[in-house]
């Protein structure tokens, strides 16, 4: 006689260490196997898009810090680039280089967090993440040197950056960039061929290439599925065309490839920072603009390759001092579209790993 079973509905989150913020997954289980999943979000919704409509263009910069708070520099960067694109504003050379250095350091920092917490989700409780934290701390110290902040930097300005780097910054940066490749080797030695990691991630949570494109996935999630699409190359912005770097691409689209792409991207970011340090020119760091800034009537969609994917800003201007409409295209919200596809048929322990491999930040999903 067959045993009668019933599906079981489990809420993972919103308060749960594996959800990387206040995120809820309504999971339907058949025993241990996931048969359905619905993401429930909005617990961190602060109405940033509405708030921005009553702030000047400069006052919006600190709001962007609070989107993906693990990558505030790149949020600043994406926003000021969109404003400059609409306003036709020229940025001094030195500021361009400083922005690139900060953005790539931010990418390393964000990927360190992503990989560290991904290992946490795998059950390697706290040890790998503390290794990653050790290096992230140095990046935070560097940022603190340039802008006095450790998390919400508010460093970039429309037309440049808020202030020049202090004397001690470049030597400290050089020290960090020189030693960082060895630390990445160390992570790889610990992790990349670790049998537990391989068994738990190879072939787990596969996102096929066609699905990845159709659901609008971006960043490491898209590239791990074998799509060579990096906005720094595909739609180059700022001065990325002056640097020599590769775009790491996976082929299986599984959790391991997403992990691997992030590790390789850190190495590429180091290459970019090395080149930018060598070429860094002297001079002004911010263009002189009439304040409060007014942009010509029109609209613009500016996008950049943020650590987690395509971060877009859609602005509509009516020539007043505040934008008429301010919309953020959050990479991780859209990366979550495929979560359900990726987890169905896997066990609940794998669900945590697959979700961790997407690397989300709720500040940006909920806005």
């Amino acid at each position: 006689m067959g045993l009668k079973t019933e599906p079981f509905i489990l809420n993972v989150g919103p308060q749960h260490p594996s959800t990387h913020g206040v995120f809820r997954m309504r999971v339907t289980l058949d025993g241990e196997v996931v048969v359905d999943l619905e993401p429930v979000i909005g617990y961190l919704h602060r109405g940033i898009e509405k708030l921005a409509e009553s702030r000047t263009y400069t006052q919006i910069i600190p709001l962007t810090d609070r989107l993906d708070y693990l990558a505030s520099m790149t949020n600043n960067f994406g926003y000021v680039l969109a404003v400059e694109k609409l306003g036709g504003i020229k940025v001094p050379e030195r500021a361009e280089y400083l922005r690139i250095i900060m953005a790539e350091l931010m990418r390393i920092s964000s990927h360190l967090m992503a990989v560290g917490f991904f290992l946490n989700d795998l059950g390697a409780m706290m040890t790998p993440v503390l290794y990653m934290w050790r290096e992230r701390e140095k990046i935070m110290d560097l940022f603190e040197m340039v802008c006095g902040q450790r998390l919400t930097y508010n460093y970039m300005r429309i037309g440049g950056v808020s202030q020049d780097i202090p004397e001690e910054f470049l030597p400290a940066l050089k020290r960090f960039i020189d030693e960082m490749p060895r630390f990445i080797d160390e992570y790889e030695q610990l992790l990349s061929e670790n049998e537990i990691l391989l068994v738990r991630t190879k072939g787990v949570g596969v996102l096929p290439r066609e699905t990845a494109i159709n659901v609008g996935a971006s960043g490491p999630v898209l590239r791990a599925s074998g799509v060579k699409w990096d906005i720094r190359k595909a739609d180059t912005y700022s001065i990325y065309d002056r640097f020599d770097f590769d775009v790491p691409v996976g082929n299986a689209g599984d959790c391991y490839d997403r992990y691997w792409v992030r590790i390789q991207e850190m190495r590429q970011s180091i290459r970019i920072v090395q080149q930018a340090m060598k070429q860094l020119p002297a001079g002004e760091v911010c263009a002189k603009l009439k304040q409060p800034l007014r942009l010509p009537v029109g609209e613009v969609y500016g996008h950049i390759e943020a650590p987690k994917g395509e971060l877009g800003f859609y602005l509509v201007s009516d020539n007043s001092i505040a934008p008429y409409r301010f919309h953020v295209r959050p990479p991780t919200l859209i990366n979550l579209t495929a979560l359900r596809d990726m987890v169905i048929g896997w066990k609940i322990a794998d669900l945590i790993v697959i979700f961790g491999s997407i690397d989300v930040c709720l500040g940006e999903i909920d806005r």
Binding site: G42, N214, G216
Partner: protein, 146 residues
């Protein structure tokens, strides 16, 4: 660099493939008729010259006399882009067809627009509020919401 396609040329091809679909042209966008949107989307994705396989961004703007839903399309194959728009003059229950069947990337983004702007996407498989709770009154991103 991603090339922004010339709107006039695309509009010419569009009106051949999907007759009576283009409403007007803007400097950098094509405004199409709502009732033809799904056909237009299907054509732009399927046609090998365009193959817009990637919906980068979907959002809406409230201009008080009308709503505009904006679609930023990219072709990862050809590395070119296009901006599509749909207008909606109804305020009580503005309705636009859903494009989830063409690009699943629209799933959460249409829910977000529905939640914050109150535009109903007909044919969306799961049109619920995304951020706010179910019995929240009003749509905060509308210009008349205070």
């Amino acid at each position: 660099m991603t090339v922004a396609l010339d709107c006039e040329q695309v509009a010419r091809r569009l009106s051949q493939a999907v007759p009576d679909s283009v409403l007007s042209l803007e400097k950098s966008a094509i405004v199409v008729k709502g009732e033809k949107l799904k056909e237009v989307a299907g054509f732009l994705k399927g046609d090998p010259d365009f193959s817009f396989d990637y919906l980068a961004n979907l959002t809406a703007v409230d201009y008080l006399d009308r709503f505009e839903v904006v679609y930023h399309l990219v072709s990862l194959t050809h590395n070119h882009s296009l901006v599509l728009k749909v207008r909606c003059y109804e305020r009580l229950k503005p309705t636009v067809p859903s494009v989830v069947g063409v690009w699943r990337a629209a799933d959460f983004q249409e829910r977000e627009v529905y939640d914050l702007m109150g535009i109903v996407f007909q044919g969306h498989p799961n049109l619920k509020r995304l951020f706010l709770w179910e019995d929240f009154a009003g749509h905060p991103l509308r210009k008349d919401y205070l």
